[in-house]
């Protein structure tokens, strides 16, 4: 039996194959590596439980601080590591432009939705993989959001975003002291992650499935 892979045409399957082909040819890691990065990404999010409604909506209610603690620590460590990797030529900058209106309107919409859904676009799929149907419904909503954004991009969303003010980074404002600025930023952000008081909101439905001595709320 021959296995026929259709790489041309516009059937649903062909468009999926074209996605793989694109990744193979765009030079940002092999297909296997990109998939592996995803596996580790999903594994970390799942294993730290930050995909849970109680963690993200819990943070919005200020009843859980695991998400900001983890985010700030990751940024603190990565900022120092990344800066010196770029200096050594092992990495490059990929700065997003300052499109002020887009950032403010988009950030506000994003923050409101994140509080209501209790997920973001990275943690959502991990939550779906854990069997959360309500998040799947949210993802379908997101798919329509992506559709509307694509269709009305030129006419509505692009003008709404405004002009780019450039791709600035913080050390750029301190010529000569870039290293110090990066070090201070990394250390301060890491310290913030440690200083934020640890508060946790647990999900009884998850905890009840664990043996008593494994329950984090009873330690």
């Amino acid at each position: 039996m021959d296995i026929v892979v259709i790489t041309e045409g516009d059937t649903f399957g062909a468009r999926i194959v074209q996605m793989f082909e694109n990744v193979i040819h765009q030079g940002h890691g092999s297909l296997a590596l990109v998939f592996l990065i995803g596996v580790i990404f999903g594994g970390i999010i799942q294993y730290t439980r930050v995909d849970k409604f109680e963690k993200i909506a819990g943070f919005a209610m200020l009843k859980d601080t695991i998400v900001p603690k983890m985010l700030f620590l990751a940024v603190g460590i990565a900022s120092i590591g990344l800066y010196f990797m770029i200096e050594a030529g092992w990495a490059h900058y990929h700065i997003k432009p300052i499109i002020l209106q887009g950032l403010i309107v988009g950030g506000a919409l994003f923050g409101i939705s994140m509080a209501i859904l209790g997920k973001c676009p990275g943690t959502g799929p991990v939550s779906i993989a854990e069997g959360r149907i309500d998040v799947l419904v949210g993802a379908i909503g997101g798919l329509f959001g992506g559709l509307v954004f694509t269709i009305y991009y030129e006419d509505f969303f692009k003008p709404l975003m405004g002009e780019s003010l450039g791709k600035l980074i913080l050390p750029g404002f301190f010529p000569g002291d870039e290293h110090i600025v990066v070090l201070i930023f990394g250390i301060v952000v890491s310290l913030i992650s440690i200083i934020i008081p640890k508060v946790e909101l647990f999900d009884e439905a998850d905890l009840s499935r664990l043996p008593d001595d494994a329950r984090p709320d009873k330690k």
Partner: protein, 168 residues
């Protein structure tokens, strides 16, 4: 075997993954997780790329994140079944029942609306928690600091007024 990693371990591992992804030995690009959504919308609804130039802008990033997302679904599923043992089908989170209401219909409608707004917001800002907050702030990008600040404020204000925080 513990059923969850402490936050500091998660932070260190996530920093390691960011650095691996950024490095020329890895993918030489940041981690992002919102461009794949309009990319998937194109796959599902079969849009005409000639008519919608946005599709060309996001073709590479969308495909890359699409494959990464498939990995994340797989990694999340395996971890939930074997490590956290939290895999179960559910329609409404316990926290929603406790601080909002018991209605599945209400949860599903709000999920759909929030999912819709979330992607519009992320695409307007050019990134999400992964692309802006983690990858962008790691590069000390001003745009990502603006985004992070606005998101945190909107998140906490919404949390305060959308849920019955005072109850219990």
């Amino acid at each position: 075997m513990t059923n969850r990693l402490p936050w500091w371990m998660g932070g260190i591992l996530m920093a390691g993954l960011l650095l691996l992804t950024f490095s020329v030995f890895g993918a030489d690009r940041p981690i992002g997780a919102s461009t794949y959504v309009p990319y998937f919308a194109d796959i599902v609804f079969d849009l005409d790329a000639e008519k919608y130039p946005y599709l060309k802008e996001i073709a590479n990033a969308g495909a890359w994140e699409g494959v990464m997302l498939m990995g994340a679904l797989f990694g999340g599923f395996v971890t939930s079944v074997f490590l956290t043992k939290s895999f179960r089908l559910s329609l409404i989170p316990s926290g929603w029942k406790k601080y909002k209401n018991n209605s599945i219909v209400s949860r599903l409608i709000w999920s759909f609306v929030a999912g819709f707004m979330m992607i519009i917001g992320a695409r307007l800002a050019g990134g999400c928690t992964s692309g802006h907050f983690m990858s962008g702030m790691s590069q000390l990008a001003i745009s990502s600091m603006v985004f992070g600040t606005v998101v945190m404020i909107a998140l906490v204000i919404t949390g305060r007024f959308f849920y019955n925080v005072k109850e219990k």
